[in-house]
């Protein structure tokens, strides 16, 4: 990471009466980073974003933007700009006037202002719609106007509050790519709030997962998916087969556990882990279990039989009952080899890599 973070969230709490929307949150976001705040509704991610923008004042703690404390600055004096969830396009102005709205305050000369508005519109590929009014735009176009309107201010940080949630699936996926490309092109720090884990995984350099006003984990998408620190994080991002395992030995960084069907393994100990009754929660992602066909052999195998099957086009979810496990395993297999044809009730062998097993704090 760079020496000075672009945004430093320092022990920020926000209470609404006794309700804690943000509970002692600390976080650094580097310059030029695409950072996502991910979590379910009510987890505090929007409150945190609005605190950075200046629309919400934390009860305690400090927020520094580019080294300067911003906690006492009103929104109009912070070097941040926001893309609102509903885009907040001014209904009485056309596209150009919307984009030029903030520039008017800067008292630029007319040609300069036109130039900047033009460039911003070009960046979001809306040059041809400059004279349209807000109500003549589609959802995707409104989103681009909101983006251009914020970017034209050349903020140090661009804040995006669920910017894609109002779009339909296809458009949302297109815009994910486009936003990511745009962010790389302009090099501005992006902070995105989303409740969609795939959106966060696909777009971010790093993700902070939040629950109940607290940050559960901050890491790269890959790290967060492969090594979730807590059961909650693992559950929120994709599927996970959870099971209990007996701890045989414990060091500062590692755990050795004895499982019922996955043998004895030594795995990394997550931060903040505490054992309960000598047991640890471990898990394996459904796609890390592989169906073994015919005589194929693997170093590590479990056996069971299929109890249910769900077809999803390119993949099939198999529910496999393994004797000795408290819950059947969920297996995600591509349909390249005919997983969609495995009959319910058939015996099945599954291969796994012991490295795929993770331990999580509860």
């Amino acid at each position: 990471m760079v020496d000075t973070p672009m945004i430093e969230i320092d022990a920020v709490s926000r209470y609404y009466g006794i309700y804690r929307a943000l509970d002692d949150v600390s976080l650094d976001i580097a310059a030029g980073e695409f950072f996502s705040l991910l979590g379910p509704s009510g987890c505090g991610k929007t409150t945190l974003l609005r605190s950075i923008a200046g629309f919400d004042t934390p009860t305690s703690g400090d927020i520094r933007i580019d080294g300067q404390s911003a906690i006492d600055l009103p929104p109009n004096r912070r070097p941040t700009n926001m893309v609102f969830q509903n885009y907040a396009i001014f209904p009485h102005l056309n596209v150009e006037e919307n984009v030029g709205y903030g520039l008017k305050r800067l008292k630029l000369d007319a040609a300069d202002e036109r130039q900047r508005v033009g460039n911003a519109l070009e960046q979001v590929r809306l040059s041809h719609l400059g004279k349209r009014k807000a109500h003549e735009l589609s959802g995707g176009q409104r989103q681009r106007v909101a983006l251009a309107r914020a970017l034209v201010m050349r903020p140090k940080v661009l804040l995006l509050d669920e910017p894609l949630s109002a779009l339909d699936k296809k458009l949302r996926e297109e815009m994910q790519v486009e936003l990511r490309t745009l962010q790389k092109a302009v090099g501005i720090t992006f902070v995105l709030v989303t409740h969609d884990q795939y959106e966060a995984l696909a777009m971010s350099d790093r993700i902070a997962v939040m629950f109940g006003g607290k940050i559960a984990q901050v890491a790269t998408p890959k790290e967060i998916y492969q090594h979730p620190l807590t059961r909650q994080v693992a559950d929120f991002l994709g599927g996970m087969n959870f099971m209990q395992a007996k701890i045989t030995s414990e060091s500062a960084v590692n755990l050795s556990v004895e499982t019922t069907r996955f043998g004895n393994v030594t795995i990394a100990k997550p931060k903040g882990f505490t054992a309960t009754n000598g047991l640890a929660t471990i898990g394996i992602r459904p796609e890390r279990l592989r169906v073994l066909w015919d005589d194929a052999k693997a170093d590590c195998e479990v056996t069971g039989h299929v109890v249910d099957r769900h077809y999803f086009g390119e993949i099939t979810h198999l529910i496999v009952d393994v004797p000795g496990l408290e819950k059947p395993l969920s297996v995600s297999e591509t349909n390249n080899f005919g997983a969609d044809d495995i009959p319910v009730g058939a015996p099945i062998r599954l291969a796994y890599d012991p490295d795929a097993l993770v331990a999580m704090a509860d």
């Binding site: 200046g54 109009n76 004096r77 926001m82 969830q85 509903n86 885009y87 209904p91 109500h135 201010m153």
Partner: protein, 274 residues
């Protein structure tokens, strides 16, 4: 369209609705018809076309004085009630506070009260305070009466006004005052003008409060009331009445167009929420 909801349009219903509309419009269309009738009585068959009743209005100084009074009262009432209603509508649509329902209930109460009781109670308080009845007392009274109407127009106008529009403006570097000038005001302007027009129209046509509170300075309806005793004055009153009806319809149509315009724009503004 019919049948789609399993609700078939019956044949007599449009006929009924048309008859109902005719019933509603009959009285207000009759006045203009007879105001051009060349006879002092309102009987069929019509006696020929004339504009003399309108011409006679022009030299009628008492009527012109009443018209002037109505204009003054109307302007003051519309500005005052719209101003007060702006505060209330903004408070109700933007903030949540305890007693909100009670407060709106009180402001809307004149809709559910016999006007004579409002008039009598105002008369009592004005005389009790030792004030003279004048146009000022009419203005104060009619403002109470116009508030519910102004409030409904403005609440529907402000309702679609998204708080994030103001936040976006602040976020883009604009100050609070600048935001009010550049965003809030232009977006809600049609609703405000619509409320002014509606209040003015109500004030122009309002009789009971003006009758009780106007003292020696009649407004147009009070003036007309005085003329009704004399059968010979009827044609002149019909002409004046027709003009007032025309004015009311023009004002209220303008208000409706503005209100609709504002509503459409805001609806489109909120559409992205889909």
């Amino acid at each position: 369209m019919s049948g789609r909801h399993g609700i078939r349009k019956s044949r007599w219903l449009p006929v009924y609705v048309t008859a109902y509309l005719a019933f509603l419009y009959l009285p207000i269309l009759l006045l203009p018809v007879f105001s051009f009738n060349n006879a002092a009585s309102t009987t069929f068959p019509l006696a020929g076309f004339t504009t003399k009743w309108y011409a006679s209005l022009w030299g009628n100084t008492a009527m012109l004085a009443a018209a002037r009074n109505s204009l003054i009262v109307g302007i003051c009432v519309s500005v005052l009630s719209t101003g007060l209603a702006i505060c209330a509508a903004r408070a109700v649509t933007r903030y949540k506070f305890r007693g909100q329902r009670a407060a709106t209930g009180l402001l809307m109460a004149p809709l559910f009260l016999p006007e004579i009781i409002v008039a009598v109670s105002l008369l009592m308080i004005v005389l009790q305070l030792g004030l003279e009845l004048s146009l000022a007392t009419v203005i104060l009274g009619q403002t109470v009466f116009c508030l519910p109407y102004a409030l409904s127009v403005l609440i529907s106008g402000f309702d679609g006004f998204d708080r994030s529009l103001e936040e976006a403006s602040l976020d883009l570097g604009e100050t609070a005052i600048g935001t009010f000038r550049r965003v809030t005001l232009p977006v809600v302007a049609p609703a405000i003008i619509s409320s002014l027009l509606v209040s003015f129209t109500i004030s122009l046509d309002e009789f009971i409060l003006a009758f009780f509170l106007s003292g020696t300075e009649p407004t147009l309806p009070v003036y007309i009331w005085g003329q009704l005793r004399f059968a010979a004055k009827l044609p002149g009153v019909l002409a004046l009445g027709s003009l007032m009806i025309a004015l009311s319809i023009i004002l209220i149509t303008l208000a409706e167009i503005l209100r609709r315009h504002a509503e459409n724009r805001l609806k489109a503004g909120a559409a992205a929420h889909g």
